[in-house]
Structures are given as structure tokens and as C-alpha cells.
């Protein structure tokens, strides 16, 4: 459903992505793993239209979305939970969630989804009127995921959802991600440094190094791959 074909993305003169191709089928969970600075975040930003690729193409259901404005891409159903959460710090939790549904008009359905994410993460109900910036890291991550869900995404892009969180919360968040995938058949593209966790959750995985995809395989096989283990643990 989402097809990235040989994209090259630059930051100024620095080439961040070199010939990256990724395919994601409907309903799948695909993980992109790699070290810091490998180009994972850039990949997501290229898909979302924030840093459009200079060459190559990105197709959604066969239609090119390369060069389409970021807000139009959201409208097409690709929604990102960016690295570092990026909650609007001076909006309340409720307002943050409403911002997630910015492009939707149907008030009743929005309310319904609001209730849904509150059951998914009950803590958000409690924090409803609090400013986003005052939440703890884990709560912010939950809010960020919920905000993205409010857009009713067809493809959910997650950038390092485990970053800086305690193991228990990571576990909780990964379970929710699985649940979102199962319950609403949302396609998920997960970018992680925490390779083990990500691959356990995903169906398939891509490994990225220095802006290139170096390995593609099913998640189980990648988990067992010696190179992957070496790359991440230096063992």
C-alpha cells in the first residue's frame, strides 16, 4: 500500500538518504531499525512531506505523494508520531487531541474517537485539562500516539516510541501499538533503535545504515541474524 522507491533526500549539501526503497503492505507492522543518525527519522520526514526527497518516488495505493504538501498527506491517511513526541506544550491534553483531528469535520465521530483513545490510555482522561508540556515522558508518548489516532490514520508512522522511557512503559506502549494494529487494521511503520523490542512486534523489518537499507527480512529472521546482533551490541 505504501511504496517508497529509490528516494534520495538531502539536508543542504548532506545526503541523508541514499536510494532507499521500502514497501509496506496493508495491515502490516514493519520496523525500520538502525543506529543513531542512520537516516531513519529522515525517511519518515520524507514520507510525510516535511523533507521531500530530491529524487525517487513515494506511492500510496499506487498514486505518487512525492512533493505533496504535508497537510495533504495527512489528509490521505498517513500520520506520524514524531521522535521526541512533540506535544504542543501550551495546549491542554484535550486540545492536543483535538488538533489530531484537525482535518476531520464530523463532530460525533471525533467525540467517539476521543472516548476510544481515553479508554486506550485512561491516564489521558485524568490529565485532560492539563497542559501538554507538564506531562511526564511516558504520558506524552501516549498523548502523541492518541493524537495521531485522532486523525484515523490508515498508515501510522511511529518514530522511536520507546525513546527515553522506562522499560515498563515501553512494554505498555508496544502492547497498545499491537492492539491498534489488530483492532482497527491500521498499517504501522515503526522506526526504532530498540531493535529487539521492535522486531518482536513487527512482521517484517528493514535495517538501515548510513542512509542505506542494508537488510530486509522477516522480523524473526532479523532477530536471529548475527550481523544485527553484532551491530547493536558489539558482541
Amino acid at each position: 500500500m505504501l511504496k517508497i522507491q529509490n528516494i534520495q533526500t538531502f539536508y543542504g549539501n548532506i545526503q541523508a538518504l541514499k536510494d532507499v526503497s521500502i514497501e509496506i503492505e496493508e495491515g502490516e507492522i514493519v520496523a525500520l531499525i538502525g543506529a543513531n543518525g542512520a537516516g531513519k527519522t529522515t525517511t519518515l520526514m520524507s514520507i510525510c512531506g516535511i523533507s521531500p526527497p530530491r529524487s525517487g518516488d513515494i506511492l500510496l495505493d499506487g498514486d505518487s505523494i512525492k512533493g505533496v504538501a504535508a497537510d495533504k498527506i495527512v489528509q490521505k491517511g498517513i500520520v506520524q508520531v514524531p521522535e521526541g513526541r512533540r506535544i504542543f506544550p501550551d495546549l491542554t491534553v484535550q486540545e492536543n487531541l483535538e488538533m489530531g483531528a484537525f482535518l476531520r469535520k464530523n463532530k460525533r465521530l471525533i467525540q467517539q474517537d476521543l472516548n476510544y483513545v481515553m479508554t486506550l490510555f485512561p491516564i489521558l482522561e485524568k490529565r485532560r485539562t492539563q497542559l501538554g508540556g507538564t506531562l511526564s515522558g511516558g504520558e506524552q508518548q501516549m498523548l502523541a500516539i492518541s493524537r495521531a489516532l485522532m486523525a484515523r490514520p490508515r498508515v501510522l508512522l511511529l518514530d522511536e516510541p520507546s525513546l527515553g522511557l522506562a522499560p515498563l512503559i515501553i512494554k505498555q506502549i508496544f502492547e497498545i501499538i499491537r492492539k491498534i494494529n489488530k483492532e482497527s487494521n491500521t498499517t504501522i511503520f515503526l522506526v526504532e533503535q530498540n531493535a529487539n523490542q521492535a522486531l518482536k512486534l513487527a512482521d517484517r523489518g528493514y535495517v538501515m545504515e548510513n542512509g542505506r537499507i542494508t537488510l530486509v527480512d522477516s522480523a524473526d529472521k532479523l532477530l536471529a541474524n548475527d550481523d544485527v546482533r553484532k551491530a547493536y551490541l558489539g558482541i
Binding site: 522499560p167 533503535q193 530498540n194 546482533r229
Partner: protein
Amino acid sequence: MAEKKHKLLEVKGLTMDFGGLRAVDSVTLEVHEGEIAALIGPNGAGKTTFFNCVTGIYKPTKGDILLHPKGLETRRLNGLKPNKVTEMGLARTFQNIRLFPDMTVLENVMIGRHCRTKAGIFRAIIRDKMVRDEEQQIIESSYQLLEKVGLARFANEFSRNLPYGAQRRLEIARAMATDPFLLLLDEPAAGMNPYETSELDQLICKISSEDKIAILLIEHDMKLVMNISNPIYVMEYGKKIAEGSPREIKDNPKVIEAYLGEETDA
């Protein structure tokens, strides 16, 4: 190695709070003469914040940072301005490269010489012999540093036009130009390809052995870390969770857990 080495940097119970968030939680760490020490840990563990405290960019909430230059008296670095810290002999590089993009490669290194040279405004205008000599010396020594990191052929390029890996090495050269006895490298290998990384590996060892500069580095590339550094300190959630030789670190279940999630089957 049995002989007790001179302790250069001593950090005791360093704590840094941002609002309600404790980014660094009573971390204790030491760097001795001739060492290449490494500080590792998952993203967001507080490593860079630790660097920023030591180099004076942040003022730590609690704890002591003591510098013991050889043959000089001990200095407490807490609350000193970053330029004073650098003057004291402690230089650093940045995680997200911070070169001076509109200056040439050579000029970037020449900036590093600033705190070791003297010419003021009036002398610069008059440009007497001493100033000219000093200037020439800055050029020569900067050029030598560029040769050392393998960037001499780029000397007159704008630094923004350098490839990524070369920019990282330029940052190291620039930091070395301040004549440090201790060098703090923040993710020097980030964004480098394996070939560049192995070159960097050699460069760091060379700096350590030839220039007698002790090194403390933050790094994600485990291969690099395990190859060249000893001791290794591991941070997670702002706390130091382990320290020791590469072998000890590899076998430490806490470390494996920190890197892989809660699994301990590695």
C-alpha cells in the same frame, strides 16, 4: 599498568534538573591520564547533558566537577563559563556538528587557536612582526592538525561543503587546536560509514598515544567503543548503571537489558 595513573577529571555526584525532569542523576565518573574512556547508553539517557554540564554550557544542579591538570592546582569547574573550561584544557565536539559553516576548513581550526594566542585589536591593526609571526604560527599549526585528521586537501574549502564524515573530523581538529589535555567527543562516529568509522578509530587512538590527550567519548557505535575504549561507563535514565572494561560491560546483564529492552537472553 600496575602503576597508579594521574587522575585528570573527577566528576562526583553530578545531578542536573530541567524543571521537574532529572536528566542526570548523581553520576560519578573519572578519567585518568592516557585513557580513552567511553560513556554509552540508549538515546535520551542523559549523556549529552552530562557533557554540557562538564563543559560549562549548563550549570549543574548538584555535584562537583574537578579538573586536576598535571603539575597545576585542582580547579572546580562548576559554574565556569564554557570558554574558561576550554582555556583550562578541556575541549569538546558536538553531537550535531557545530562548525562555522561560512568559514573555511583551515579557519575553523584557526579559531581553536584563539585562546592560546594573544594579538588584540590594536596589534591586529598595526600588524607588527610579532603578530605576523603569531598569525603564521596559527596557520602552520592549524594546517598540521588538518594533516593529522586527513583534511589538508580541503583546507581552503568552506566547511559547509565538506562531506559529513569529514565535518566530524574537522570538529575534532578544531577542538584539538585549543591544546587540551582532555578531549570530550560527543558521538564522533554518528552518520559515518564503516570505512570512515574505522579511520576514526585509528585517529582517536593516534590522538591518545601521540598527543597524550586523554579522551572521553559518547558513542553509539559499539564496535568502535569496544575496540578502543577502557573503561566504559553506561548510563540509563540519567543514572550510571555500570562501569568497567569492555569485557565486563559486555557481560553485564543490566547493560544488555538497557540496550535490548527488558530481555536478557543475549
